[in-house]
């Protein structure tokens, strides 16, 4: 397929891959998919490499027209995808024909959907990644969100389309964004900057996701937290998932487009396997936090990566 035409852009649709992981020492935001797990699964379903670029749609999905036959998959939050007006399943690779139109409806669960296309999106990589960093106006499609009339270039698919259509995931591999679950975090590096009481509040009372939440960070509202000795530290490194608490005592979870350094105390960092569940929260949703230790978080991570390795192996077997 040469390209996908944007008939309607949706609320905020960008090209994303797994981000710029090698440039944080130069103050470069990683960007990349907010829900990296869904992006990886979308890619693997259509035979792409997991780090290929796909579309990330937010709250209201786009309307896209395909220039040729191909295979696509839709994962992440359920924004009610439909092909030529007929609802299509998510988490499954779907055959599409030239001039087919993919559209979206209501936001049912989560808020970010990923649309992968066999062959991947072939915008030029900037600093090793095709992710859009819209604050810096670089990466993705012309450094911005999609607009009406855009033609998004698609790479060559390595497979026969009939080999990759109709593929689905094991039920256990599909993340469940519907069931309420705590967001787990590893305390620190400045968890001791908070009063003991505040740390207990943080882990026992729910926080609301406010309207001031985007790809850069989620501002939360709930029980005000108190610092022992002020909220400011000498600026140091911050990573996606860091939970900063400035002097007003309300937490901010930093997300994919966050800056690389910051001067506020961090009460903890969301564990890798729970970041997708944060990324699928939208304003007025609630978050409950639960502290875990680093060893447990790394065991969960290893388990998840093992599952993904299995899917990658299946793709390699298709190539034989």
């Amino acid at each position: 397929m040469e390209f996908v035409k944007v008939v309607k852009p949706g609320f905020f649709t960008t090209v994303q891959d797994l981000g710029r992981l090698q440039y944080q020492n130069l103050g470069i935001s990683t960007s990349g998919a907010m829900d990296g797990l869904s992006l990886r699964l979308a890619n693997l379903l259509v035979g792409n490499d997991e780090e290929d670029a796909a579309l990330e749609a937010t709250l209201i999905g786009p309307k896209l027209r395909f220039a040729a036959d191909g295979v696509i998959a839709i994962t992440g939050g359920d924004l009610s995808p439909a092909l030529n007006g007929i609802p299509v399943p998510m988490w499954k690779s779907i055959r599409i024909r030239q001039d087919d139109e993919l559209s979206f409806g209501n936001c049912v669960t989560g808020c970010r959907a990923y649309i992968s296309i066999a062959g991947g999106i072939e915008v030029p990589p900037i600093m090793g990644s095709r992710s859009t960093y819209f604050r810096g106006h670089y990466g993705g499609h012309e450094g911005r969100a999609l607009k009406i009339g855009d033609e998004i270039p698609i790479g060559n698919c390595r497979f026969n389309l009939y080999d990759i259509e109709g593929r689905r995931l094991q039920p256990g591999a599909i993340p469940d964004y519907r069931t309420d679950r705590p967001i787990r975090f590893i305390p620190g590096p400045q968890a001791d900057a908070f009063t003991q009481e505040s740390f207990e509040w943080f882990t026992s009372r729910p926080y609301d996701v406010t309207n001031e939440s985007d790809r850069m960070g989620y501002r939360l509202q709930g029980q005000q937290l108190e610092h022992v000795n002020g909220a400011d530290i000498i600026s140091d490194f911050i990573t996606v998932g860091s939970i900063q608490v400035p002097a007003i005592g309300q937490p901010i979870i930093l997300m994919a487009d966050c800056q690389t350094t910051g001067g506020y105390t961090k009460i903890g960092v969301v564990i890798s396997v729970d970041l997708p569940y944060v990324a699928q929260k939208k304003p007025r949703d609630q978050i409950r936090f639960e502290a875990v230790d680093v060893t447990y978080a790394q065991e969960l991570y290893a388990k998840r990566e093992k599952m993904i390795s299995g899917l990658k192996l299946l793709n390699r077997m298709l190539l034989v």
Partner: protein, 245 residues
């Protein structure tokens, strides 16, 4: 005999989530502490420890991003702690000095009069004081290659503006606290703007996107408004040949 850096005593090893380990040095901003961070980063790099993805230097800490499938937090912390005693001045990289052309005065220095009034120095004195010496680059962070440099003359030390600007022009040369920096992209900002550079210190499309990295020195060199407005790629190449090679 390699000289020992005293700044690496009592290091703390803490997790920043499940994929980053932070080595915390002494809790202060000083060139000596920062050179200790630099030295440790270079020492770790030279050991090519399996699983390390990236090292990030900040004022007084070293962040180590790693793949937890290949190495656990505790294994990595043990491995790195085992190198502590070998940190020496020899590992602090030889720093280069990057000369940055800056136009001062008039529209290029919107906060000059205020800084002059608050410091009691004349506008000329403020500018001369700023470009009179090179500044150490403690770290490159925040967004898009923003360098944090210091320490500026103590007579110029002021808190950030109480009312930050919504939009600061790319290339603005600024001071706040005991630091100086450059706005590498147009962004909001609360620092005092004293000059403007036509030099692109950050360009995402180049193989080396940032002109400055942690451990370098930054030296401002005054140029005329005329020259700054005529600045182009060719002039930049000539400038780099003359000053930055």
């Amino acid at each position: 005999m390699a000289s020992q850096l005293v700044s690496h005593k009592n290091l703390k090893y803490v997790p920043l989530g499940d994929q980053t380990l932070v080595v915390q040095f002494e809790n202060k901003i000083s060139i000596e502490v920062n050179r200790g961070v630099q030295a440790f980063a270079n020492l770790i790099k030279s050991r090519k420890i399996s699983g390390i993805v990236q090292l990030i230097i900040t004022f007084n800490s070293l962040a180590i991003c790693y793949d937890p499938v290949r190495i656990s937090f505790y294994k990595l912390a043990d491995t790195i702690r085992g190198l502590e005693d070998q940190i020496s001045e020899d590992h602090a990289i030889p720093s280069k000095t990057i000369h940055v052309p800056v136009v001062f005065g008039g529209e290029y220095s919107p906060d000059l009069d205020e800084v002059s009034a608050r410091t009691g120095l004349s506008p000329e004195q403020v500018i001369q004081t700023l470009y009179s010496k090179p500044y150490y680059v403690y770290m490159v962070g925040f967004v898009d290659g923003t360098p944090y440099c210091g320490d500026i003359d103590e007579r110029l030390v002021l808190p950030r503006r109480s009312n930050p600007r919504v939009k600061v022009r790319k290339g603005a040369v600024a001071i706040a606290m005991n630091q100086t920096s450059l706005y590498t992209i147009e962004s909001p900002g609360g620092w005092h703007l004293l000059g403007w550079t036509p030099m692109e210190v950050f360009n995402p499309y180049q193989e080396r996107p940032c002109a400055l990295v942690a451990g370098d020195y930054l030296q401002y060199v005054p140029i005329s408004a005329d020259e700054s407005e005529r600045w182009d790629d060719q002039r930049q190449r000539e400038w780099d040949r003359e000053w930055n090679s």
